[in-house]
Symmetry: C2
Subunit: 226 residues, 2 copies
């Protein structure tokens, strides 16, 4: 489903030495796999997710998504592909501050299924325990509630590929566990799930563990979860 | 140092039943104490921190900070008091997006000690492992790096009262531990530290554990950490 070959990405800041956020990344993720991405703060995990989620382009190497080279595509083509296939939970949520939780969750459906938009959005919010917060705007929600709205929005479209960048950082263990079950259930139903996490409880539930340090993949192991 | 008596805070949203974010909160924190605040997502922890940090006023009850009633004060008086005495690490960071990490950390010093501003800011950034990111703007930093800039900014003024709202949610365990050591060191030097956290490793290092559920303190226990 996903194939990164020799992918690199660097940032140049003034005359400081360049920051190599990703270096020589080779990564293959098959349809229906579930993997955890772990590594120190600043090691390149979100950068990797942004490349996979078609939000950012690598400076080097190439990216094939479902067999098609996406490195060369236009901004519009990428946006359409992204909206159809990928559900992205951002590390910093990126909710629209003046829209309610339900309106935020409806956003991905604007392009697809307007008829049942409200109903799907409400159901997605219930799945993350926020059925009674549908009309609250982000400023009227707790940190962990905003995080859950971001999760609901990523899943409402039932995407084939789920990219979750630290989805439980603001959640207590009980809610964290329910979010993890949600991802495991999607995996069970055949979705491809990639979760960046600093939470060992989350990481150990994935069947594969990709460890990133300083922009490189230092290990990529199947784990024996069950 | 801190005394909350029968503090309450509610939010009214249209004709939905009011959200009682805080109810009948009685809390005393002595100078030099260190406590962890734990509880489910949405239970009222950040609301409590905002009241303690003079960012929000309770609807009921009163708040004494160092023996002075602060419930009745003006906005300006509160701002001055807050800047002098309190270092606040926000759950969602609130960094200025167009200022560099160093400039963000310097902000509290604008009111106090401009002569050594840059030097203090750089040292605070080094203490959280970001000495080499001083000139990056928040958009050029990872999530965990932004969190650490927020921590550095809260501590640069050497405040008497440190309020940290989920300071390690975006950090790997190694960096998390170093931040925790930082807080423990400040506590050892006599500062009063209150940390909201979902991380059990952090919570267990505090000498006291305050458990909040549905806006109420359900337990408040000394823990035997050492
Ligand atoms: N626009 C930019 N310009 C310069 N450096 C950048 C830029 N964006 C990111 N970086 C740097 O790239 C590195 C990787 O960032 P990334 O966000 O991928 O880290 P991460 O592994 O997700 O970290 P965290 O666990 O803290 O979220 C960081 O060291 C960061 O400072
Ligand atoms: N302006 C507001 N209007 C209505 N409800 C609000 C408002 N602000 C917060 N709330 C509600 O108050 C409750 C407490 O919020 P608070 O941010 O204190 O929770 P928290 O314990 O910090 O949660 P988390 O662990 O998720 O950060 C939440 O249920 C939230 O939905
Ligand atoms: Mg990240
Ligand atoms: Mg909170």
């Amino acid at each position: 489903m996903i194939r990164l070959a020799d992918v690199g990405k660097s940032y140049q800041k003034g005359d400081a030495p360049p920051v190599h956020a990703l270096r020589q990344i080779d990564l293959e993720l098959g349809q229906g796999e579930m993997a955890a991405v772990v590594g120190p703060s600043g090691s390149g995990k979100s950068t990797l997710m942004n490349v996979l989620g078609l939000l950012d382009r690598p400076d080097q190497g190439c990216y094939q998504l479902e067999g098609q080279d996406v490195s060369g595509r236009s901004g519009d083509e990428l946006a359409a592909l992204r909206n159809r296939k990928i559900g992205f939970v951002f590390q910093s949520f990126y909710l629209l501050p003046r829209a309610t939780a339900a309106e935020n969750v409806e956003l991905p459906l604007l392009y697809r299924d307007r008829s049942q938009m409200r109903r799907h959005a409400l159901r997605a919010l219930e799945e993350v325990g926020l059925g009674d917060r549908a009309d609250h705007r982000p400023g009227e929600l707790s940190g962990g509630q905003r995080q859950r709205v971001a999760i609901a929005r990523a899943l409402v479209n039932d995407p084939q590929l789920i990219l979750a960048d630290e989805p439980t950082g603001n959640l207590d263990s009980a809610v964290s566990e329910s979010i993890l079950s949600l991802f495991l259930e999607l995996h069970r139903r055949g979705r491809t799930v990639l979760v960046v996490t600093h939470d060992e409880e989350v990481a150990r539930c994935a069947e594969r563990r990709i460890h990133i340090v300083d922009g490189r993949i230092v290990s990529d192991q199947r784990t024996d979860t069950r």
